[in-house]
């Protein structure tokens, strides 16, 4: 019979040179299996003298442990190598393009709507809606713009016939201003009122800077205490927040709207060059909105006593705000559904607007 020392050396040698897990298993069977040579040696122990048996048994156990350990070590080594080779064969060119995911966009007008709501919301303005088709009372008369008023011709109005009346003054109009929502709000609600009314507006005008449909946001405050100074503060706070600037120069010019008095237009500072328009400090002014103290006739038309209540109103173009803030050059392109434009100027669906979380991301990488 082979000496156990020899057996050990030979087996460890075999393990060390084994080329695969299969070989290791064979070695294990041949040495430690039921009929393995070491197992046979173990079986022979019982025949030995107790002293010898004790000593020889210990020796055998040590060897057995050594071999088992060597087998285990080698097995781990081999399986690691095998896995490594398997993985090597699974090679993929990871520079290949990913599956195409179509991510849509939010239109700039919707984005601006959300920003405007976020800002005025902080100031307690609720959002009011009204119909796109209006009667002349809400679009004009109640706004202190009676028939034959020159302001009615200033806004080239789209009319829709009223089949129940031959009188032209009864025909409906596609609203020329979101101001009509002021009236609908005051008819339903008693002061104090703080609303903004964003929405589609329509005028019969179509050139580089005018489209027959555009978007306005109207603002209205009516209570007992709001002053022209508040109007200035409110709008200054708005433009500063909207353009995300620490400061912005503003000026007010007296103007005229039938439904406010005093009326003003607000300009913001900017720097104009042939190719660029930068909002903020600069030598130029840019008209951004019209505003004023609500005309007493408007309050009266809604059954509100102008001696007791007062407030202000303002209106501005959402599309125009989008153009100024996001550098979109042409108003007409807003309504052309050009997928290239929508992808470029549109906003990622998760680019949400809040005053505390931020109004806008700086782009968000387009996919």
């Amino acid at each position: 019979m082979e000496s156990i020392e020899n057996l050990k050396e030979r087996t460890l040698e075999q393990i060390a040179t084994a080329s695969g897990i299969k070989t290791l298993d064979e070695i294990k069977v041949a040495v430690l299996g039921k009929k393995g040579c070491l197992t046979e040696q173990m079986k022979g122990l019982s025949a030995l003298d107790i002293e010898v048996r004790k000593q020889f048994g210990q020796q055998l156990n040590t060897i057995k442990n050594e071999i088992e350990q060597a087998l285990e070590n080698k097995k781990q080594e081999l399986s690691a190598r095998e896995l490594e080779e398997k993985l090597k064969k699974e090679s993929i060119d990871v520079t290949l393009p990913v599956r195409s995911e179509n991510i849509g966009r939010i239109h700039p007008v919707s984005k601006i709507y959300e920003e405007v709501v976020a800002i005025f919301g902080e100031m307690g303005f609720e959002v009011a809606d009204g119909p796109d088709i209006e009667d002349q009372f809400h679009n004009f008369n109640a706004l202190n713009t009676p028939a034959n008023h020159p302001a009615r011709q200033m806004q080239d109005t789209f009319y829709i016939p009223n089949l129940e009346s031959d009188n032209f003054d009864d025909s409906y109009v596609v609203r020329t201003q979101t101001s009509a929502v002021q009236i609908r709000t005051m008819e339903k609600k008693q002061p104090p009122i703080r609303i903004i009314a964003p929405g589609r507006t329509y005028r019969s005008d179509y050139d580089a800077t005018h489209t027959p449909m555009f978007h306005q946001v109207e603002g209205l405050v009516v209570d007992k205490v709001t002053t022209f100074a508040n109007l200035k503060g409110c709008l200054y706070d708005f433009v500063k927040a909207f353009f995300e600037l620490d400061d912005i120069p503003v000026r007010y010019r007296p103007s005229y709207f039938p439904f406010t008095e005093p009326s003003a237009e607000m300009d913001i500072g900017c720097k104009k060059s042939k190719t660029e328009l930068k909002i903020g400090a600069g030598n130029d002014w840019l008209e951004i909105l019209g505003c004023g103290m609500v005309h007493p006739n408007v309050l009266k038309a809604c059954g509100i006593d102008p001696e007791e209540y007062q407030g202000f109103a303002f209106g501005m173009g959402l599309d125009r705000l989008a153009m100024l803030k996001y550098g979109i050059p042409d108003l007409r392109t807003f309504f052309e559904s050009d997928v290239r434009w929508l992808k470029h100027y549109g906003f990622m669906p998760l680019d949400e607007s809040s005053m505390t979380g931020g109004l806008s991301n700086n782009g968000g990488l387009a996919r």
Partner: protein
């Protein structure tokens, strides 16, 4: 409204420069659009001496000049008859822009002789109207001077006048406002009182004093309308874009722009009988001075003689009785017309005129005689002649409004205190007569202001003059903690948009109008909502569906080479003419391939299940009762009849989806398949208790769910939705989901039959399912499906 600096200074004594004037105008509400300096963009012109004149070798009238501009000596070919050696004129160098020709001077050859510039005539550089010869400056004029060193530039202001400031449609009104703002002193208007003269042979009569409260006429005999309009007047008119026509017409135009006082002149010899101001008869004809014929109605105010309407009162003169070069005797009209009458007639006949523009807004009602006197004086100066006494019908006795302002109220309204004496000072400078009484300052407005009604108007005047920028800015008082400002039905629109965008659709915004010819197929039973005055024939109807414009958008994108398109829009569709007869819709289309060619080869055409998914996602985002939605196959006729459906909550349709009908697409010129959806947001009910934000309690089972598959053979016409509903209904407690993983028709199956394979999830509640439990559930499903679907047979696994 345009005017020149020199014209302004006719009325305003001021030291202010152009910039200060412009800044002040804008500050007081007369917004400056532009200040045009006539020489600003004119470079390349200098004074130059003609040192030698030679005859052109090849022409009778051309000369070859040697010209010295102080820097160089140039050869210039010139055809002017007045050219002579030694004269100093204006040389346009090569590159100089000539406005009259809209061209730049180039090196040219005239009949073989090179020319390096042009000696200019007055009209060529806009300093006059002469074109007979080249400009001749005094012989001792220095050479090498720029245009602005030779000619006094008279800058032109272009300002926009709001409708309430009609008096500023005259230069004097603007001057008065500037003076009130502290920019100088208003000069008195110099009008010589006319001495008693002869009586006008033509009398005047007014039938309708409501429409024409005052009418005056003055007969001026022996005028010479061939006389030259004075240069100063002509220059001013030309500078603001008016053409000089004849001295009589020029004077009326001048007074109109100087005093905002419209006038009219008739050739008195052409008038038959006296003047009668009356409403026209229905059908009465009138030919305007631009030779257009109008058929009048009985609300059109006419200035008539015995032969009919000769002038549309306050709007436009007539051709028949107008002045010409030969006019010798003139009747000068200066009158007052009611704004409403003018506005109605002007709008009805669509006549725009400077006169209508002013009457419609406000003309000083007490300026009829003054305007007549002023114009008469100018006519006599220019054309000679002799003026009669003025004929007046009606009385020039307009009583202006007297109202008050309370300094305390001003403070609580504006948020700034203004002292009473400051208020009085401002109002006085604007022409108001004031009187202090208790806490009120009473003010009677000047007659040239038609816009003053009450305290708010006076407040505006005061704040305007102080300057809006002087008012402090105070932030809105606001609650410490913001509250939700979007109502649930507003908020969910935002959510729906973001959901659809995140599903790969590009949000667009299209017109609320559309093309009625294309919209026809999309009307939902209602009549077309057509505009009276569409901007183009293609935008003549309020859209009955958002799809029409989306399809047009698709078509344009395909034309640009982008055929794979997913678009949506959230906006109104209209089903009636009245306010409120509109619905908010989220509509979308998908067409083309889901992606460009890709190495994974997963791209495919968009199909009906893409848009069905969009519609369902929108309903879920809109907080709709998603689980109660049933699908029916009755979408409108513009959808493919057998590849479309409706999402319903009971009878309430909340969405349509499907492929669009090829015949409809053909009308748009679209050849590729288009999938579409329309979600009617207004039809989706809001959760009953929107305030209760708590979600339903989550029941988590410790026991594993079991998935089992079953297949049924059914008639091919059976709808999958019915099978799913029946399977779910078999056991509401343990069956938690039913899916379909295979639909098969063809080999091994009878014709008109199909196999539908379900995958069911059973969720045990109390203890793990035994095989028997699962068998029971499967049997329940088989029984329920067979009960609901007669043709169903369980297929052996």
């Amino acid at each position: 409204m345009k005017f020149t600096l020199s014209w302004l200074k006719e009325h305003l004594d001021t030291e202010a420069n152009v910039e200060q004037i412009a800044e002040t105008l804008t500050k007081i509400g007369l917004e400056v659009e532009e200040v045009i300096n006539p020489f600003e963009n004119m470079s390349g012109f200098t004074t130059a001496r003609v040192e030698d004149v030679q005859n052109h070798p090849d022409s009778d009238h051309l000369h070859v000049l040697t010209v010295n501009d102080g820097k160089e000596v140039l050869q210039v070919v010139c055809g002017a008859p007045n050219v002579k050696k030694g004269m100093v004129g204006i040389l346009a160098h090569v590159g100089a822009y000539i406005p009259l020709f809209n061209e730049k001077i180039k090196v040219g050859k005239m009949r073989g002789v090179e020319s390096f510039g042009m000696m200019c005539a007055e009209d060529e550089i806009g300093v006059g109207t002469d074109h007979e010869g080249i400009i001749e400056l005094p012989a001792n004029a220095p050479i090498g001077l720029a245009l602005s060193e030779v000619y006094q530039a008279d800058p032109v202001f272009d300002i926009s006048i709001t409708p309430n400031r009609a008096e500023c449609l005259g230069v004097r009104g603007i001057a008065r406002d500037l003076a009130a703002a502290g920019l100088g002193r208003l000069k008195p208007l110099k009008i010589n009182k006319l001495v008693n003269s002869f009586k006008s042979p033509i009398k005047v009569k007014v039938e309708d004093f409501k429409a024409c409260p005052v009418y005056t006429a003055r007969y001026i005999r022996g005028v010479n309308n061939k006389a030259e309009t004075p240069k100063w007047m002509k220059d001013r008119l030309t500078a603001i874009g008016l053409r000089s026509i004849s001295p009589l017409v020029d004077v009326t135009n001048y007074v109109n722009y100087d005093l905002a006082r419209p006038l009219h002149v008739f050739d008195a010899d052409k008038l038959k009988g006296d003047i009668c101001v009356r409403m026209a008869k229905d059908g009465e004809k009138f030919v305007s001075l631009d030779d257009k014929e109008y058929v009048l109605d009985n609300q059109s105010l006419g200035i008539c003689d015995d032969e009919g309407v000769q002038c549309l009162g306050g709007i436009m003169g007539g051709a028949a009785k107008g002045c010409s070069e030969e006019t010798v005797n003139v009747l000068l009209e200066s009158a007052l017309f009611a704004p409403t009458c003018i506005a109605r007639t002007g709008r009805k006949f669509q006549i725009d005129s400077d006169s209508r523009y002013r009457y419609e807004r406000w003309v000083d009602p007490n300026s009829n005689v003054l305007g007549s006197d002023y114009a008469t004086q100018l006519i006599l100066e220019v054309c000679g002649g002799e003026a009669s006494d003025i004929e007046i019908a009606g009385e020039e006795n307009y009583q202006p409004v007297t109202t008050f302002v309370r300094p305390a109220r001003l403070k609580s309204f504006i948020g700034m205190e203004v002292a009473a004496d400051k208020i009085v000072e401002i109002l006085t400078r604007l022409g108001f007569e004031t009187k202090e009484e208790g806490d009120k300052i009473w003010a009677t407005s000047p007659t040239w202001r038609g816009d003053i009604e009450g305290e708010h108007d006076l407040v505006e005047e005061i704040v305007r003059m102080i300057g809006l920028d002087e008012v402090p800015a105070e932030s809105m008082p606001r609650s410490y903690f913001p509250v939700q400002v979007l109502k649930p039905e507003q908020r969910r629109v935002v959510t729906v948009k973001h959901e659809l965008a995140s599903r790969g659709l590009l949000e667009t915004v299209t017109w609320s109008f559309t093309d009625s010819r294309l919209a026809k197929d999309f009307r939902r039973g209602g009549e077309a909502v057509l505009l009276c005055n569409p901007i183009t024939a293609e935008l003549d109807e309020m859209r009955p569906s958002v799809l029409v414009n989306l399809l047009l958008g698709l078509k344009n994108n395909i034309a640009r080479g982008y055929a794979n398109v997913s678009l949506f829009e959230c906006g109104p569709e209209f089903y009636g003419r009245k306010p409120g007869e509109q619905k908010l819709v989220a509509g979308g289309i998908r067409s083309g391939m889901t992606s460009k060619k890709h190495w994974l080869k997963e791209e495919r055409l968009f199909d009906v299940f893409d848009v069905k998914a969009d519609a369902l996602a929108a309903v879920a985002a809109a907080n709709g009762p998603y689980d109660s939605v049933r699908i029916s196959t009755d979408a409108p006729a513009y959808y493919h009849p057998s590849r479309s459906g409706a999402l319903r909550l009971g009878n309430n349709v909340i969405a349509y989806f499907g492929e669009l009908h090829p015949l409809v697409l053909k009308k748009f010129g679209l050849k590729q398949r288009v999938e579409a959806f329309e979600v009617f947001l207004d039809n989706i009910p809001l959760p009953r208790n929107n305030k209760d934000k708590a979600k339903k309690r989550l029941e988590l089972s410790a026991l594993q769910p079991v998935d089992k598959d079953m297949a049924f053979i059914v008639d091919a016409s059976v709808q999958a939705d019915d099978i799913i509903a029946a399977a779910k209904n078999a056991d509401r407690q343990y069956i938690t989901s039913v899916g379909i993983f295979d639909v098969y028709e063809g080999e091994n199956l009878p014709k008109d039959k199909k196999s539908v394979a379900l995958t069911l999830t059973f969720q045990p509640k109390e203890m793990t399912f035994s095989d028997q439990d699962i068998e029971t559930l499967i049997t329940k499903v088989a029984v329920e499906v067979k009960k609901k679907i007669v043709s169903a047979q369980l297929r052996d696994a």
